[in-house]
Symmetry: C2
Amino acid sequence: MQRYFIDPNAIEPGRITVRGDDVHHIKNVLRMTVGDHILCCDGQGKDYYTELVSITDKEILCRILSTFPSKGEPRVRVTVASSLPKGDKLEWVLQKATELGADSFLPFMSSRSVVRLDGKKSAKKRVRWQRIVKEAAEQSHRGYVPQVGNVLTWKGLLEKFPSYDQVLFAYEREGSSLVEVLQKTRSQRLLVVVGPEGGFTESEVEEAVAQGAVPVQLGPRILRAETAPLALLSCILFSFGEMGGEPL
Amino acid sequence: MQRYFIDPNAIEPGRITVRGDDVHHIKNVLRMTVGDHILCCDGQGKDYYTELVSITDKEILCRILSTFPSKGEPRVRVTVASSLPKGDKLEWVLQKATELGADSFLPFMSSRSVVRLDGKKSAKKRVRWQRIVKEAAEQSHRGYVPQVGNVLTWKGLLEKFPSYDQVLFAYEREGSSLVEVLQKTRSQRLLVVVGPEGGFTESEVEEAVAQGAVPVQLGPRILRAETAPLALLSCILFSFGEMGGEPL
């Protein structure tokens, strides 16, 4: 069933008023009519099963039929820090990682990042990225919309490390095995850092380690910059029992 | 370093002759010259570190400097059967799954597959898919090129099940947890089956189970048809110690 994130202020006892872009989507794209059902999520952990009661160009009134907790949130919170890859690859990292269960995103530029964004371009991109994440969160039945942060410099990213219980960074040249690291950790707030196509420089690796990050190897195959964060995230969530079943 | 799969017949004592499309890539795309180095892989588990000795439009002669076993092959062999998804999504499933370590691919059409290919179109597509897989295998340092099978009907796919030690299929509505299934299995030849955007029909699920397949759930979040095979593959390889480290 189609699912929308709704401004919590639009929720009143027994009813929800849908406004904004979602009205167009429900009315004109999906061509729904009075009596059809949609799921509304308040983005704070609650889902509402509703019936459309009235439809205008500006708003859609929904009657709440039942309420239940959103089921889509992992207990472990993984933030994905991805160096800006070429083309639109970050867009699909955002989409796929949201489906898988990422908590939030920190795009960054390091020495070897090919893509460079200035403040203006970066703000525009961020609006687009946030929309992609919202749509993926709706589609995958997430309980809230992961936030995409401002594009950080490498130094800016390093400064974020102390906010996390553990920081892992993908490094093909050396590092602990992922299995080993995950067997030792039961951290609840993880940051995973994945470099650009050309990898990290040696001094970046040193700086990350000095800031407490743990380098991890993902096995003998060389993963692309856009594949590594998804593989890492899948394995971490699997290890925490979030891909079906109990923690390992 | 750039790496190419080479016809084993092109390998002679001490030297390798590169022919075909790779000549154009080495000469005109990368603009390499005599004295530059490339890695050649025989696609049968052996890598050759070589130096370019002579370059013409038709062939490039390489001197073998050293030989070593390809390191990129997982011990567990996972075949990915993916129902034809919309657009070019299968192309990136093929690319990413090859990087991660898939053994081979079986595209198929089931009741709810939106994309339909007749024999002619399917043969043309297969050439393209195989090229994508070859390039991904070269880039990710695989020891051989995974093979993409002919597009199968659902019935055709069911007939393949007995060739595998275990068949898992992603089913969001019910099934064992992936952790549970993987803890019990040490099968060496696995087939993972992922349905189209609209999922499997109930009768397809029954037919798959009757043929010995095990339905698995990938957790509470709804993964897209193109995300599920990559998540499944990552978790399986992780569980077998193929994403860095020992088996769980």
